[in-house]
């Protein structure tokens, strides 16, 4: 006779689920609205999504307050883990989504935004990412990852161009492989330790002194490959440029920010305890991954002829740069990761939004692709303000002070210096110099070349509307005045990272 399970509702601590449930409810509401009256304008769904995301954000502020009072909270059979990392990353996820979703309010009509399902899937995806970061249970991470990824594949495919189908299928196949790797890695960990919770795994492994180091390495290899796909680390990056190219510019910008921060959190949770307990093999491999990802992606970016593909490779390079934080694994480097990513989010959303407003229906003769460099030739003559803003984002990405990303790079390189990774610090600095070239190339095209005769001068603001312009203005202001933002941000992030034990 089985004993009846007796769980009090209070010990479940259901409040920890609240931030994830809000977007789920929002998504369901959108579907319900569509059921009663279909064919409504996209602005309705955009606003509903924004409202729910704001509520989500508010509930995060709430749990941030609870965290700074009581520390880490567990809930729902200890599956949910609300620590500083979870809260910070959810802030980034939800915050970036709030800025992203109004990008669908373009002046031109796009196929995918006419479906309410687009917005429902979007909210489901956010919930997935939130689950992924707010737990240390490998199974829930997996569930969150798959919820989010499947939604994302569909969102890409809905863009409805030949290349988007290619992108979605490519992303899906690679994602499926990564998922298989992830589950295999988790399985080995479970076999070794009898648990799927990362802190349990860490305790058991430390308890037996890493007796089965060979199996640990097998598990780590699979985990690394799987997260490598998600974070587009070289050599698992091959999908990234094609997927960026195939999806709409706004979606590509989103993909460069939100899925990656979720991936970084998981990587941080899994790898840092392993590095700290002296799994030297992992340290060496991560070191190689970081350096190769940064450098190789930079080299590829140098030879691109399309701005979007260039930005795709540059995002890979930035991901490699930030991955260094996990390798270094100090409180400062982990804080630097969040700082970097917040500032990167500003700049990268801004630059992809600039591509988005210059989206054309048909590609004219002088362009080989959607956003080839020569499309931007002489932009300063035809639309000076747009050119200046775009140049601003490029300078920020290159790490020219005092723009946003400089402060992230500064703090990140400093964390490498402080942890004794001298060579790494120098490599990071030199990679920023290499990257300077391809960002500069766009500036050269915009400011120093003559406009192409017969080019459509309206193209740079073709797709713009008030919401899009506001978002770009917001990103630009954030990029320029980042130096005011850095100090409070750093204090907040450091206290959260430190208090969650990283």
């Amino acid at each position: 006779m089985l004993e009846s399970v007796n769980v009090s509702l209070e010990s479940l601590n259901l409040i920890t689920l609240l931030p994830m449930l809000i977007p789920v409810i929002g998504a369901l509401l959108i579907l319900v609205i569509d059921m009663f009256k279909s064919g409504q304008d996209k602005s309705l769904y955009v606003m509903i999504a924004i409202i729910f995301l704001f509520m989500d954000f508010a509930s995060l502020v709430d749990s941030a307050g609870a965290f700074s009072q009581d520390g880490t909270v567990m809930g729902v059979f200890n599956v949910m883990l609300i620590d500083g990392l979870a809260i910070l990353s959810q802030f980034i996820i939800v915050g970036a989504s709030i800025v992203f979703i109004p990008l669908s309010l373009t002046s031109k009509r796009f196929h995918e935004f006419s479906y309410p399902e687009f917005f429902a899937l979007f909210l489901f995806m956010i919930a997935g990412f939130q689950f992924m970061v707010a737990t240390d249970n490998l199974i829930l991470i997996f569930v969150g990852l798959e919820t989010a990824s499947l939604a994302l594949y569909t969102l890409i495919a809905m863009h409805n161009r030949d290349k988007s189908f290619e992108a979605a299928v490519k992303y899906f196949t690679m994602g499926a492989l990564a998922a298989a790797f992830f589950s295999f890695g988790s399985m080995v960990f479970y076999a070794l330790t009898g648990s799927v919770e990362i802190n349990q795994i860490a305790t058991v492994l430390a308890g037996n002194g890493y007796a089965d180091i060979a199996y640990v390495l097998v598990a780590v290899t699979f985990m690394l490959a799987s997260l490598g796909f998600k974070l587009s680390l070289v050599p698992f990056h091959t999908w990234a440029p094609d997927v960026y190219e195939g999806s709409s510019a706004s979606m590509a910008g989103y993909m460069s920010i939100v899925p990656k921060i979720a991936g970084f959190i998981v990587a941080m949770r899994i790898f840092e305890f392993l590095i700290h307990s002296g799994v030297e093999w992992l340290e060496v491999v991560l070191y190689i991954f970081v350096v190769v990802t940064m450098t190789a992606a930079n080299m590829w970016a140098l030879v691109q002829t399309d701005v979007k593909r260039m930005l795709a490779y540059s995002s890979i390079s930035h991901a490699g740069f930030v991955m260094a934080a996990i390798l270094i694994g100090t409180t400062q480097s982990n804080s630097a990761l969040f700082l970097y990513w917040v500032l990167f989010a500003f700049t990268n959303l801004g630059s992809f939004a600039m591509l988005w407003i210059s989206r054309q229906k048909n590609i004219p003769w002088y362009q080989t692709s959607d956003h080839s460099y020569n499309k931007f030739a002489g932009m300063i003559k035809t639309s000076p303000i747009a050119a200046v803003i775009m140049a601003l984002f490029m300078l920020s990405l290159a790490g020219v002070p005092p723009f946003a990303l400089f402060w992230g790079k500064l703090y990140m390189i400093s964390s490498a210096v402080n942890a004794g990774y001298n060579a790494l610090a120098l490599i990071m600095a030199l990679n920023s110099a290499i990257a300077g070239y391809y960002y500069l190339k766009l500036i050269i095209y915009m400011f120093m070349k003559e406009p192409i005769v017969g080019a459509d001068e309206q193209v740079f603001t073709n797709n713009s509307s008030l919401p899009l312009r506001s978002i770009i203005g917001f990103a630009a202001i954030g990029t320029v005045f980042a130096f005011i933002l850095v100090n409070p941000l750093l204090e907040f992030i450091t206290s959260f990272v430190y208090n969650s034990g990283y």
């Binding site: 400093s414 110099a433 120093m448």
Partner: protein
Amino acid sequence: MLDHILSILIFFPALAAILGFAIQKDSIRSYGIAVGAIEFSLSLLLWFMFDSNASGMQFMEELPLVPVFGINYILGVDGISLFIIILSTFFTLIGIASLGEMKNIKYMIITLLFLQMTMTGVFAALDAIVFYVFWELSLVPMLYIIGAWGGPLRIYASIKFFLYTFTGSLVMLVGMLFMAYFYYQASGVWSFALLDWYRLILPENLQLWLFAAFFVGFAIKVPMFPFHTWLPYAHGQAPTIGSVMLAAILLKMGTYAFVRFSLPLFPDASVFYMMPIAVLAIIMIIYTAMVAYAQKDIKQVVAYSSVSHMGVIILGTFALNVEGISGSVFLMLGHGVVAGALFFLVGVIYDRRHTKMMSEFGGLATVMPRYATIFGIMMMASVGLPLTINFVGEFLSFLGFYQQSHILTLIAGSGIVVGAIYMLAAFKKVFFGEVTKEENKNLPDLNKKELIALVPLLIISIWLGVYPKPVLGPINNSVESIVQLMHDKAITSEAKSRIPNLMKDVKSAGNSEEGAN
């Protein structure tokens, strides 16, 4: 208001530049001149208020920027930076005033005003990160000036200029982060403030590494011998105003940074590297002088001669004594005035003939007598004729280095002779002889706009050559405190003996300075 005069000096031109976007195209020149004049008067006011007898920092401002990480907005000037700031505001003013007709003149003036902001910022910053911010930011306006108004190879030249300096500065940034980390280890607080760093005494092997990291950044900017290849391209392609600002002010950032950062932070490393750097500087003096002699393009002659004289500045700086450093700081000003004027002069002839080839000219002295006179005087000043501004600086620099090594000083001095040869040869080709080309017969002489730029430079270069005291006095005061700081901080006995102790022989140092005057 005067408590914040440095901030005003930095940000007033930037604000004016932003407002300048709203100004109608035909009125922008007057606006630019007005802003430049106000900025210049403010810098003169700074000099007026400056206490010449004090050696430390004045007009200090402090504002927390990222206090968690020890980054503060700290400004201040001493005798070393004061005059370079005045020089930069002066060059912005006459640069704008003498701008010839060109396309998009509005954007040019706005860019120059932004450039002015970054230049003042670099020389007034006393926090390493703030310094770095302005240092990097100064690349952007210059990139645009070369890339948008330059010659046929402008894009190549501007990218080369940007990437070269950008790479060097990033290495320097890593060095700064190390420095801050060592300061943190020593004191337990983060600080990027230069005056805090001055108090930190590092072991010699760390000094050597950090010196090297800073050296890469500074040496590319100067540019020193193996890193100088970007400069001829930049000068060759840049419009006149770009070359003038580059030679007069931007290159001085590198030599200024040596005096401000490398020497007082790493006294032992400075002594350790003194001879290798002196050898590089001498190669730079002689080799580029020879290259200059081989040029056919008059602007390249001026460009290489400017590199050559930067070598003397480096040599003086690494004399590590009061005469040498004072002389090199003074030579920075002199080189700024003279090289700036020479680039203006080359621009004058280029505007008229649209060629810079010396073979195209000849006999211009009869056609353009005023032009020939000013060119001649400036050329003499550049060669270092006594009673011109460069003589004082070069003499003091060599005097300083003579105390460290006789033989190297003699070799370097011979470079100056080569300098005289190529300059006179160039002058002869352009100005003397018969007027051979038909186009040269009716060239108009200097007009009013050009005289506005050139006459003040002429006056300065003679005035400060005859009577350098008002400028040299404050410089000397500040340099003395730096040299004393270096002596006190030095840990190796080699460094203690190479860097003079001024507490003991402050009188004799004063005497030799008197003698120099």
